[in-house]
Each structure stands twice: as C-alpha cells, then as structure tokens.
C-alpha cells in the first residue's frame, strides 16, 4: 500500500472528519486504490449511512471488489477466507453467487456459516439446493442455522418443505428456534 493510498484510507475511515472529505477520499481510492483497500472499504460500506455507502459501493465496483474477494476465498488461510466471505456478505453482490456456493463446503465451519449468511442477502433461488443440503447435512449447528435463515428468505415451496423436514429432525434446540422463525416467514408472507 503506497503512502498516499494509506492516508486516503485513513481519511475515509475516520468518522470524526466531515463527510465531504471522507467521500472525496473514497472516490480517490476507487480511482487509484489497490486490492488491499477492498477489505477496509468493505467494512466502511457495511457500517455507513446512505451517501457514504453509495460512494463506497462505486469505489468497490471500480476496484473489482467481488473478483478480489473471490480470489481471497481460494486462499489456503482460513482466516483470509473468513474475512473475504464476510466482506462478500456485506456487499451483497449478485455476481458473488458461484463463489459463495463453493464456500458452503469450506473445511472451516465459520466460513460455511457466513457463506450461508451472505446467500441470505442475495435471495437467489439458484442457491436453494445447496442451502437445503447444508440445512440437512452440515455437522455444525450454526451453519445449519444460517442455512435455515437463508431459506426463510426464498419464497419457494421447496424451501418451506425442507425447513419443515428439518424442524422434525434437527437435534439442536437452538437451531430449531431459527428453523421455526424461518417457517414463520412463510406464514407472514402468505398473510401479506
């Protein structure tokens, strides 16, 4: 990271500075930044108000953030993959779908959990079979819970059926709570 980029990044992340200053720093990072600013900009995107958020989205786009993060998802280091999958979840980019589906079978449970969480944000029906498999077969209860949450946002009968089957079989009472909440989403939508 060059020193100019580092100082723009500091301005962009510094919530005590005026918004206009931060916005112009983000624009510069979009024009001249390098892949290393994608993660901190992802953090900024995930916690900013509307204006700063939309400028950050543009900068991330220019930096091909989704491709950068998808590459990071193939790292040998589990912590790198976890950061990448969490950032992808925060961005909610539709083009991340194939990478996220692959991450549902990652050896690290936390990565699988946040891949399912990122799929919730995408609400893409093409993820349905993989999410059903995670819900019924993943050994980690938090991954099954995240898959249940994501399925609750897919308005498809197959999702509802899978959740009903899981509700009857799920051994972990905490995951049952998430499954029930997701099932309730179908009732809510039917009523609306």
């Amino acid at each position: 990271m060059s020193s100019a980029i580092r100082s723009w990044l500091e301005v962009a992340l510094d919530w005590r500075r005026p918004e206009a200053e931060r916005i112009s720093a983000v624009v510069r990072l979009g024009e001249h930044g390098d892949p290393s600013v994608v993660l901190p900009l992802g953090l900024l995107y995930s916690e900013s108000g509307a204006r700063l958020r939309s400028v950050t989205a543009e900068a991330l786009d220019r930096l091909s953030a989704v491709e950068v993060l998808a590459r990071l998802l193939r790292s040998d280091d589990g912590e790198q993959r976890l950061r990448a999958v969490q950032a992808l979840g925060a961005l909610g980019a539709p083009t991340a779908l194939p990478s996220l589906l692959l991450s549902l079978t990652d050896p690290v449970a936390k990565v699988r959990e946040f891949a399912a969480s990122a799929l919730l944000a995408l609400r893409d029906e093409r993820a349905l079979p993989e999410l059903v498999r995670s819900l019924s077969q993943d050994p980690d209860p938090d991954v099954r819970g995240a898959a249940a949450q994501a399925l609750g946002e897919l308005d498809r009968p197959e999702a509802q059926e899978a959740l009903e089957r899981a509700a009857a079989q799920e051994p972990d009472p905490f995951t049952v709570i998430l499954i029930e909440r997701s099932l309730y989403r179908f009732t809510e939508r039917a009523a609306a």
Partner: protein
C-alpha cells in the same frame, strides 16, 4: 432574625469541592430536613445518579427546596429566630457546613494528595487558572491519571496533553457527578475529582451491584436485538443463540414446565412475554456459594423490519421487569433503540427525541416519525430495585443525559447503572458483545475487566479489516455511568 442568601449558601457548601453524600447525613440534619418537609427521595432527586450533592447547580436546587418550605419564598433562608435560636433551616445549613468541611478534609487527605505540590493544579484550586484544550504538563497528566483510575479513560492514554479525548473524558466525569459540563478543569471539577478518586497508587475497581442482582436467587436478563437495514440482524440473532448454547443455557418451553418451576423462574402470566424466547441456566455465585437461576429473555426485531411494534413493547416490558437489559443494534442517531426500519415509527423506543446532541443529527425520514419532545422513558414504570442497562450501538452515550434525568426516568435513574458506547461500533460483532455481557454479569465481573474484554472484541474486528485508526479508538469503546458509588466497588493497588 438572621438569614442566608442563596449565593452565600451555595458558596459555603459547593466551593473547593464541597459535597454531601445524601444517605450518610448526620441524624440532626436529617431531622431538621424532615421538619421542613424535605424527604430522602427529594435529596436523591437533587443528587442524581451518584447519590452525592455537589457543585453550584445541585446546591442551588437544594437551596430552592429549603427556601420553598421555610415559610417564605424570599431567596433567603431564615437561620435564626427572634431570640437568636437556630431554626430548622439554620440547623440544616450549619450541619451541612460541618459535613462538607469534613468531606473536604478527607478528600484533601486522600484523593487530593494526587494534586498537591503541583503548581498548575494549585493554581486551578485557587481559581487562578483553568486546565483546558491545549494545556500540557504534569498537572494534565495527574488529572488524566485520576480520571483513568475511576473509569474515564482516554484512548490516547495518560500523555500529559489536554487533547480532544481528554475534553470528552472530563465532560463524562462532569455529567456523572452533576457539575456543569464544559470539558474544562476548574476548582469545582478538581475538587469533585479529589473527592472521588482513591489516594495515589490506587484505582477504583467498579462493579455492578451483583449482591442486589442475585439476592432473590434469580437473575432476569433481557437481550434485545434491533433492526439493521444492512441485513445483519439474522447474524446477530444466530450469534446470540450460538453463544447461549456454548455457555450452557437451555431454551425454556413454558408449556412443559411444572408450575413450581415456572414460579421459580418468574415465568408467571404477569411476566411471561409471548413474543420473546426464554433461556435458562443455573450458576453458583462464587462469593456466597448460592445457586442463581439466570433467566434470559431474547427479543429480536422482525427480519423484514416492517413492524417493530411487538419487539418494542417487549423491550419496554424488559425495562420494567428485568435486572439487566442488554440492547444491541442501531442507536438511531441518539434517539433510542429501534426495532424496525429507520423511517418507520412503531419500532422506535424513544429515549431522546432530539437525537444526537453531539454527533450527526437524525435524518429527515427519522425526524418525521419522532417528535423532538418525545421520550418513552416517561412511560416506563421504573423498577424500584437495582437495574443494569447496556446499550451496544453507535455512540449510545448520547442516551445518558435523558437516562440520568430523574424527572424523565423517574426514581429509576438513581438506582440504574448504564454502560454505553463512546464511538460508532461495528454492528457485525455485536452478537458476540451481547453474550459476553451476559457472561460477565453471571460471574461478578468488574467493569475494568468486562469493558476491556468488550473493547477488545471491537478492536480485533477493526484490525481484521485493516482499520488501524478505528482499532486504536476502540480501546475505549465503552463508558459507564452510575457505578461510582456502588457497594461492590473496591480499591486496588496499581503497579
């Protein structure tokens, strides 16, 4: 007949850090006070959350109370009758004078020793100068050390420079003890500091009132998760459930509970909240060896953020019923916890309708659904018993002025400790924060250790995403209010 004017009264008692602890008044003063019709709760109201009357504002309020009841509203207390005998007002005035003198002497011999011999601070004490933004040197360093030793740390540490963080720390201390909040150290603030800090070489380890929390063998806790437009509400809910599982809690199914068990866990019809989930775990209180049932109510904003009415109502009930209430979610520009979309009204639990008094003001959409003068704290029938409130969101210390105002939050304010945030926190991690708080309050954890651990979670999160500046500031993510006079506090030698 002799009398005392308001200024004379206030100066005699408030100057040079004069203070009185309202529940330690000598019996002569107590009986004189009740003779003019001033009850202990009137004094508590004036004293505010720290239970101490100090500073011009609070002593002026006390003067007005006495003046209102000593016969005439004439801005003067009649202290001696026609034949020179002391009146009730006179006995109050004389008695309080002795108390503040004794307190001044004690403060000078204890906490005040930190400040003696330092010329800049002696000049402050004598009213010859103020310490304020830009000042440097040993005096500043001693003030910073004193603040840090009672829980008002600055992220930049004890560095001898009166920087913006020091201004904020001084403001927090002033708000806490009921002084005028100006971020500068004059004789009143230095006096109050001397009276609050332990002697040099010791710090005050603060704790919530665990004895009172555990006294009935049950610890009632609510964890409430607000709505987040950026979609992290499900992550928080999952993280909380996962943390409860790891810490050994079990979900409660009320229908299969035997009636005796239901009563023991406090889940009778009056307390039972059909819109919440409940969890239970027993733990042993290390100090007493007694078993305590931790009963956790989990309240979650609706996934779609459409209508947060039910969750908001559950939160309100939690404020009335539970010993510990932990909120995680947006601070909503200082307006209060919120359980639906930013621009929807029903899910807002409004603490301060004005919103941020320091940070960015509420946007137009939120303004439209919240009246500036609204505060839902007024409608909460506050618990008369002790309560600990934790607000885990962005800069929730903006809530404190309303939380601490006895006219707003009823008698609860004096009996409520609050933990709030000083900076915009990252929503992504607060599921872990919420369970960590729960974990701390089931093992008598002191604020020193609990808040350091919590700040550490925020710090590591920022480091993971290469936000070094944010990580630096996250060293003091939390601030606390109401703890200074707690029974469970103890003095600890510093290395």
């Amino acid at each position: 007949m002799a009398g005392v004017q308001r200024n004379e009264f206030v100066q005699r008692l408030a100057d040079r850090g004069g203070y009185v602890v309202v529940d330690q008044l000598p019996s002569e003063v107590q009986s004189a006070l009740s003779q003019v019709g001033i009850q202990p709760q009137d004094l508590q109201r004036i004293a505010g959350s720290d239970g101490v009357i100090r500073g011009n504002t609070e002593f002026e309020a006390l003067f007005r109370e006495i003046d209102r009841r000593d016969g005439r509203l004439d801005q003067q207390l009649t202290t001696r009758g026609p034949s020179g005998e002391l009146t009730a007002a006179g006995r109050i005035y004389e008695g309080l004078g002795q108390v503040v003198d004794a307190n001044r002497a004690r403060a000078a011999a204890e906490g005040g020793r930190r400040f003696t011999g330092e010329p800049s601070l002696e000049a402050v004490q004598n009213g010859q100068r103020l310490l304020e933004l830009g000042a440097t040197g040993e005096g500043v360093r001693r003030v910073q050390q004193a603040l840090s030793d009672i829980g008002f740390d600055t992220p930049s540490g004890v560095n001898g420079t009166y920087d913006a963080d020091t201004v904020r720390a001084v403001e927090r201390f002033q708000r806490e003890v009921g002084l005028t909040v100006d971020g500068r150290v004059g004789p009143e603030t230095l006096g109050a500091l001397a009276a609050t800090v332990p002697p040099p070489g010791e710090r005050l380890e603060r704790s919530a009132e665990y004895d009172r929390m555990y006294a009935d063998g049950r610890l009632d806790v609510t964890i409430a998760i607000g709505f987040d437009e950026h979609g992290t509400t499900p992550d928080r809910e999952r993280a909380v459930l996962s943390g409860l599982r790891q810490d050994g809690y079990r979900p409660i199914n009320r229908n299969s509970l035997p009636p005796a068990e239901r009563d023991r866990l406090g889940l009778n019809d009056e307390r039972w909240d059909p819109n919440a989930r409940y969890f239970h775990r027993s733990f042993t209180d290390d100090r007493t060896g007694h078993q305590v049932d931790a009963v956790v109510r989990l309240v979650v904003a609706p996934n779609d953020g459409v209508d947060g009415r039910e969750a908001r109502e559950s939160f309100r009930r939690a404020l009335e019923q539970d010993e510990v209430v932990i909120y995680g979610g947006h601070a909503r520009y200082g307006t209060g916890p919120d359980f639906d979309h930013l621009e929807r009204g029903p899910g807002n639990f409004v603490i301060d309708g004005q919103g941020n008094r320091h940070g960015s003001p509420p946007p137009a959409g939120l303004r439209q659904v919240i009246d500036r003068d609204r505060t839902d704290l007024r409608s909460v029938r506050g618990r008369p018993e002790y309560q600990l409130l934790v607000f885990n969101g962005c800069s929730t210390e903006e809530y404190l002025p309303m939380m601490r105002d006895q006219r707003v939050f009823g008698r609860n304010a004096g009996n409520t400790d609050v933990i709030a945030t000083t900076i915009p926190t990252s929503g992504a991690t607060s599921g872990a924060h919420l369970v960590r708080f729960l974990n701390g309050v089931t093992r008598r954890e002191s604020n020193n250790s609990l808040l350091a651990a919590q700040s550490g979670i925020e710090q590591r999160h920022r480091e993971r995403f290469d936000d070094q500046l944010g990580a630096e500031r996250a060293r003091t993510t939390y601030t606390e209010s109401g703890f200074l006079g707690n029974d469970g506090n103890r003095r600890v030698r510093t290395p």
